[in-house]
């Protein structure tokens, strides 16, 4: 029996800090553990005693990559607690803002974080020396997403215009017009991205995932819908905690989520959303996915780069639809009256389902907060992928093996600050 240890001290190109430990005994992977060393920041604790209206600005600070997702789950959960619903043009503007975040976050991951894995570079800056046009396309696309966030949200990171009940200020039709021109160019770039990504070399690795995502009656999901799964779950967001739970493991400051019923893992994020909602994509996005060789479902995590590209295309398409149909509402927000209650919401962050629950006191102060981010839900699936895939790579040269392991984690675009929470790979061959 050979004894060998590979260690990756800091997994790069993921947002946050984590490490990875793979144990191999006699050529078989017996254990794959993801650890997250992100220092705990205790959001759920210091939210207690704050006003309900402060939740969108405070929870945005959980993640600088997907602040809109936190703001959206927060406002929907608060509105649920207060017994109000935001509809019409204000609801559409929230979808538009979410389109901006998906475009920005996915373009960042596709071009700057994930593409270097497929083309064999340490990072996008190195890649740009030989693939300058490619990196520039990616940056241009990312900038289009950020243009939505800047106009509608006030700035790219931690937008300031979102409030419980709507917005502080709504854009005029005239302000949105230049954005539409830019998004039309972005849609072309997104289509080119799907075609480019489809031509990459993917390891043939599949897994029978339990996909979990929102599903809405008419739309590809951002803000609203029922929580459905590929194995028949169909829940309202208020029932989330009946079916899913989080565990605390010693190696990690992020909690690990799994199904309550049998402790099994499940997958949230682009693959799950796509596989459960293909029929809700716009005709253009569906056609591009077909042309890229994707079926109506996708279970190869390495192809998540193609699925993200399809979602970027959809988000450009949807943003253009929203802008074309936009009529300025009479008021930027709806009136709210504080009351005691419990509110739940789940929305689709770029990395997957993001659940918030709040209990409010009579005067609208937060008595209790619970936040379940996508990366903590996907940790078990990341570990399962490593366990399933690493076995086939054990004969590869050390450096390449390590790289494959890192890539397996990066497939998930893990946002580790989100899970409150960096990566170190340690391969123990016994």
């Amino acid at each position: 029996m050979t004894t060998k240890t590979i260690k990756v001290n800091y997994l790069a190109r993921v947002e946050g800090e984590g490490g990875l430990r793979v144990v191999v005994r006699n050529g078989v992977v017996t254990k794959a553990e993801l650890s997250i060393f992100e220092p705990p920041r205790f959001f759920e604790a210091f939210l207690r005693g704050r006003a309900f209206s402060e939740a969108p600005d405070i929870t945005a600070r959980i993640c600088g990559i997907c602040p809109v997702a936190y703001q959206m789950s927060a406002v929907h959960a608060m509105e649920d607690a207060l017994g109000v619903r935001v509809t019409g043009a204000l609801r559409a503007l929230r979808r538009l803002l979410y389109c901006g975040e998906w475009i920005e976050s996915h373009a960042l991951h596709i071009y700057l974080l994930h593409a270097p894995d497929f083309l064999g570079y340490a990072g996008a800056v190195d890649m740009a020396r030989e693939h300058r046009a490619l990196v520039e396309t990616g940056l241009g696309l990312k900038q289009a997403g950020n243009a939505i966030l800047t106009l509608l949200g006030g700035r790219e990171v931690h937008p300031i215009n979102v409030r419980v009940g709507g917005f502080y200020r709504m854009p005029s039709r005239r302000e949105l017009a230049p954005l539409a021109e830019r998004l039309e160019r972005a849609r072309e770039a997104a289509l080119a991205t799907v075609r480019w990504a489809a031509g990459l070399d993917f390891p043939e690795r599949r897994h029978d995932y339990h996909f979990v995502a929102l599903r809405h009656a008419a739309e590809y999901p951002f803000n609203e819908g029922r929580i459905v799964s590929s194995r028949g779950l169909d829940l309202s967001p208020a029932e989330f905690e009946d079916s899913f739970e989080e565990d605390h493991v010693e190696r990690s400051t992020a909690l690990h989520a799994h199904l309550k019923a049998d402790g099994s893992s499940y997958l949230v994020g682009p693959l799950a959303r796509y596989s459960l909602n293909f029929d809700r994509l716009s005709p253009l996005a569906q056609a591009a996915a077909r042309e890229a060789g994707l079926g109506a479902t996708c279970a190869n995590p390495f192809q998540s780069i193609v699925v993200r590209a399809v979602e970027v295309l959809y988000a450009c398409d949807e943003a253009l639809r929203i802008i074309a149909a936009y009529e300025e509402p009479d008021h930027p927000s709806i009136p709210l009256t504080p009351r005691a209650g419990i509110g739940h919401a789940a929305t689709e962050a770029p990395r997957g389902l993001l659940y918030h629950r709040y209990r409010l006191t009579e005067d609208g102060a937060i008595a209790e907060a619970r936040i379940v981010p996508p990366t903590s839900q996907n940790q078990a699936s990341i570990e399962a992928d490593l366990k399933n895939f690493v076995g086939g790579w054990l004969d590869l040269p050390e450096e390449e093996l390590r790289h494959r392991c890192e890539q397996t984690v990066r497939n998930y675009d893990p946002c580790i600050s989100c899970s409150t929470h960096f990566l170190r790979l340690e391969l123990d061959r016994g």
Binding site: Y10, E17, F46, E54, G154, T420
Partner: protein, 258 residues
């Protein structure tokens, strides 16, 4: 003769990653920046790392664990210039709200097994641990200001980041004062400039992302806010946001505790 490019490192402590993302958000300038400096350590963007001494380190995040308190000393030793970026690094961030509470209770609220969690009782800015050459404010930082800091560094000059209040930026932007005209509570008069007065431009009051300006008159603003009808508890909370541990805001908040 080619002069060697300065070696840049980007470090993360307790934070949301938003400030380092601001560098990647410079879509038009990123490749030019990458040509002007050698990005020697930036794990969020690249797996390639160069070890040794860095000409400049950008540090994001606050110190909240014993491990990070030791790590920042090593980062300082290996950096010719150390620049902190963002409210976490310059003031302890939103997570500094723990400084007012019992961290054991906080751990028990969030984690099923508090015994697995290693954390300090406080979240503190980098400057409370090592000497800092320049502080860039903001939650998040403004990317134009980040580019100014990098440009200044390349030109061997001091970055120009005015320490006056957000009010000045509001006037420059032509905003109507939200506090005078609508009675909307606003931290603009005491908050460090840098964001471009975004909130008042979007019809809301400033909530202090950039922390205290130079010589703020916080008590006077509290009086004004109280006259607008803000009760003591709300006032204390208003000062305790993303820069709650910055001395002028911390002390003013304390005056309104019961």
């Amino acid at each position: 003769m080619t002069r060697q490019r300065p070696r840049l490192a980007v470090w993360k402590f307790a934070s949301c990653d938003g400030c380092q993302l601001s560098l990647l958000d410079c879509e038009d300038e990123l490749l030019a920046v990458a040509g002007a400096v050698e990005i020697a350590y930036f794990p969020e963007a690249t797996r390639g790392t160069v070890r040794g001494i860095y000409d400049v380190s950008l540090v994001e995040g606050s110190i909240t664990t014993p491990h990070d308190a030791a790590r920042i000393l090593d980062v300082r030793r290996r950096s010719r210039q150390l620049i902190t970026i963002g409210a976490c690094a310059t003031a302890g961030g939103i997570q500094a709200l723990r400084n007012l509470a019992d961290v054991r209770e906080y751990t028990a609220i969030v984690y099923a097994r508090p015994d697995y969690i290693q954390t300090l009782a406080t979240s503190t800015p980098i400057a409370e641990h090592v000497s800092v050459d320049f502080e860039l404010r903001g939650c998040p930082i403004n990317k134009r200001q980040l580019l100014e800091v990098l440009a200044a560094l390349l030109a061997h000059r001091r970055p120009v980041t005015p320490a006056h209040s957000v009010c000045m930026e509001c006037k420059a932007r032509g905003n109507v004062c939200v506090m005078v005209a609508q009675g909307t509570p606003c931290l603009g008069p005491v908050t460090h400039a840098g964001c471009g007065a975004i909130c008042p431009a979007y019809a809301r009051g400033c909530y202090g992302c950039f922390g205290p300006m130079e010589m703020p008159n916080a008590p006077s603003l509290s009086e004004h806010l109280a006259a607008l009808g803000m009760d003591r508890a709300t006032l204390a909370r208003f000062w305790r946001g993303f820069n709650a541990h910055a001395a002028p805001f911390r002390e003013e908040a304390h005056c309104h505790d019961d």
